[in-house]
Symmetry: C2
Subunit: 207 residues, 2 copies
């Protein structure tokens, strides 16, 4: 069964990006550190068209498994704008990406199978479209924090993965705030760790 999931890196003090993020400072001050464990892995580097990287470890496997399950992505406008300025030509999605924005823009097709669709429809309608193109694969709510919060509060997320980095940002964009906790609850599904990162898997029970 196709699932709707979120998958994010977070610092131990709860941030998914630092302050002052933008086109020239992707993920904000210190934000890239959250994903250092990922940048080192072959499976991630391949998707960015980069050579080298570590193999034979659980982190590499997890990235590969996650990429393979995704049939469509949904992301907020800010994440797209920041990414557009920084992704390589072959944007690392390899499937349709729905961008929530009021800006009118024709679909933007990239080499490698990524096509960005720009939409100002409500989050439920966008999810239905994403599910349809994903088929038997899963839909990932990619971020940023506000988009995740919106989908959580609508009771539309079924699985939530947090890659918890043992670092502190001190400030930035918090993942878990503005949540309506009457709408959903988390249950521990699995936890896997390496020396670099802790992967927390939760099932989301929507009320």
């Amino acid at each position: 069964m196709s699932k709707v999931f979120a998958d994010l890196g977070m610092s131990l003090d709860g941030f998914i990006a630092g302050l002052n993020g933008g086109e020239k400072n992707p993920l904000g001050d210190g934000g890239l550190k959250i994903h250092e464990w990922m940048f080192r892995q072959k499976s991630f580097r391949e998707h960015l068209g980069m050579e080298g990287g570590e193999t034979n470890n659980i982190d590499n496997e997890i990235i590969e498994k996650t990429f393979n399950r995704i049939g469509a992505n949904i992301m907020g406008k800010r994440m797209f704008v920041e990414g557009e300025a920084n992704w390589p030509e072959e944007a690392p999605f390899n499937c349709p990406v729905y961008v929530l924005t009021h800006q009118k823009r024709k679909p933007w097709e990239r080499p490698g199978g990524t096509t960005f669709f720009f939409t100002d429809e409500d989050v439920q309608t966008v999810l239905l479209k994403a599910k349809k193109v994903a088929g038997e694969k899963d839909v990932r709510i990619s971020g940023g924090a506000k988009t995740i919060q919106q989908y959580l509060n609508e009771g539309l997320v079924e699985e939530f993965i947090v890659h918890l980095a043992p670092i502190f940002l001190g400030s930035g964009a918090r993942l878990f705030e503005h949540l309506d906790k009457t709408k959903f609850s988390f249950e521990i599904k699995n936890v896997i760790h390496s020396k670099a990162i802790t992967h927390l898997y939760y099932n989301v029970k929507n009320n």
Copy 2:
């Protein structure tokens, strides 16, 4: 070798207690939920003089191991005041507890081996005293958040344990804020989980 460690329950959104905490509302609004996994375990209940509880699970073992390693505790004034109104006669420490407070007060001895010592000395001096009485056992910086932050920022904590509950408080006392991240860093030591809780063990590297 005797170690200095912290050991706290935290919600997934980063709180160790809810709002409006006090003598009549221990751990604040929703704060007790963070520790529900613990209240169910026999090893915890025994230390509070309560009957029953679960056994034969990893959570029960972890509580027992932690109690056994502690030779002395250090806590802030607010944690003591809140606890004083709520602990059973046999306070659940069974060893000396140093309370950081400007209030002058004679040591307060409870049945079961807990004696509270009240001190306004600096955190380093208090730690030296606690280490001395702990002998080969470990010293636990018990809380609250401000006391933990003070000891972290002084570079005095060597191990940090977070019991990460899959719940959201939305507001309250944050554990990881006001930190000087130039002073220390965390390294993943171990991660253990049950269906109810994720135990995160970090080594603290002090700069």
